[in-house]
Symmetry: none
Subunit: 238 residues, 2 copies
């Protein structure tokens, strides 16, 4: 370990050693040197390789576990998690519990992305997709009374829109934002009136999509999510 010391002129803030180890591991994952499910070297070996003590390495590992990036199994080893977006987004739940204004911020992001998706879907969806979407939306009528079923219906509606938009980046961003706000979705759909309005919005959306009108689709989605947001603030004010 003669040359383990790397750019040390970086800010020497708190937790220099442990954070350094943390960043190195993170980068190894980002760069693909470590892939999902892969096993890390034993803590004793890895600590030696990184030039830090085992407790410090353990702090770094524990931090990455908290972020659902790593997981460790006693007696087996430490592994890279599946890195599923859902897992990686989970830690945010805590902040949403504590700070409800964060929820509103999330909604802004979702609105922007969903609107873009709707707009693209109006241009790129196949006729078959639109026909199937129309049929699917009709099924929603029978689910108005079942909260769980309707939530599932709503999720799939937006999922189909994403697929039709053919924009993997937008889909990926939206997936991130959505997994964050999934917890709140249950609240938003609580009242029957809210659900009925959502269904009506979905039907309106299908109409403008079939008319191949991107701008109208954009606008329709903004309004739809505005309704949802109102339903949310009704339930949980301030």
């Amino acid at each position: 370990m003669q040359e383990t010391v790397v750019e040390f002129q970086t800010l020497q803030r708190s937790g220099a050693v442990a954070n350094q180890a943390l960043e190195i591991i993170k980068q190894m994952i980002v760069r693909g040197e470590l892939t999902a499910g892969q096993r890390l070297p034993a803590q004793r070996d890895l600590a030696a390789r990184l030039g830090v003590s085992r407790p410090s390495l353990r702090e770094a590992i524990r931090a990455l576990i908290a972020l659902n990036i790593l997981e460790s199994r006693h007696g087996e080893g430490t592994f890279v998690s599946s890195l599923e977006p859902e897992l990686l987004a989970e830690p945010i739940d805590f902040l949403l519990q504590v700070n409800s204004t964060a929820l509103v911020a999330l909604f802004e992001a979702r609105r922007a992305l969903e609107a873009a998706v709707a707009s693209l879907a109006a241009e790129r969806a196949t006729d078959l997709e639109l026909a199937q979407l129309e049929d699917f939306v009709k099924l929603g009528r029978s689910k108005l009374d079942d909260l769980d079923a309707f939530i599932e219906h709503d999720v799939e509606f937006h999922g189909r829109l994403r697929a039709a938009a053919r924009s993997p980046i937008l889909s990926s961003l939206l997936a991130s934002v959505n997994t964050l706000s999934n917890a709140s979705r249950r609240q938003t759909a609580r009242s029957a009136a809210t659900r009925a309005r959502a269904l009506a919005d979905h039907e309106a959306m299908v109409r403008v999509l079939k008319a191949r009108n991107p701008q109208a689709a954009h606008q329709a989605m903004v309004e739809h999510l505005q309704h949802v947001l109102e339903g949310l603030t009704d339930v949980a004010p301030a």
Copy 2:
């Protein structure tokens, strides 16, 4: 602290002790026993109070730091963070770093996000911000001949818009998208004509912002990025 031991029948998975300390601290924050900015007891004391060793407690603290729930300052103490929404950003960033594969459709995402930012900025920017932005854009004229200076100018223009939009989540998403597309920015601004058109777009943007017209701002941004995209494809076709 005779009764520190709490529900131990919970799954005894890996990291039982450290995780227990972690959960206890988390719950104290959720319940409001610890509020934003408050100082925690010294690690040595807290470890004793929770009935764990200091290294284990440190693992728990490090995990909470990774989640942006705590922060520690050397020589001062460990504190509850501000718990503000922008702290959501960091975990999302990693998610995007890992997930991002397709660089192709990136521009769509940027367009959607920038447009949303412009729209929000039209509503939320202070008069002072807009006045300063106007002055700043004027400075752009003198930079038209210097490629590097103009790129820097362009980056700051969009940065100021983000700041004025007051939407940490959108900013964070956009930051991720931008780091991915930074490589191409240099190409887009290569021709003098492209730069002149970009500057004109910026000036137009300032006008609609001062008019407090969100929809026009949205539209102006879409058109602006459309121009940039055209400049890009001119230079580097498919």
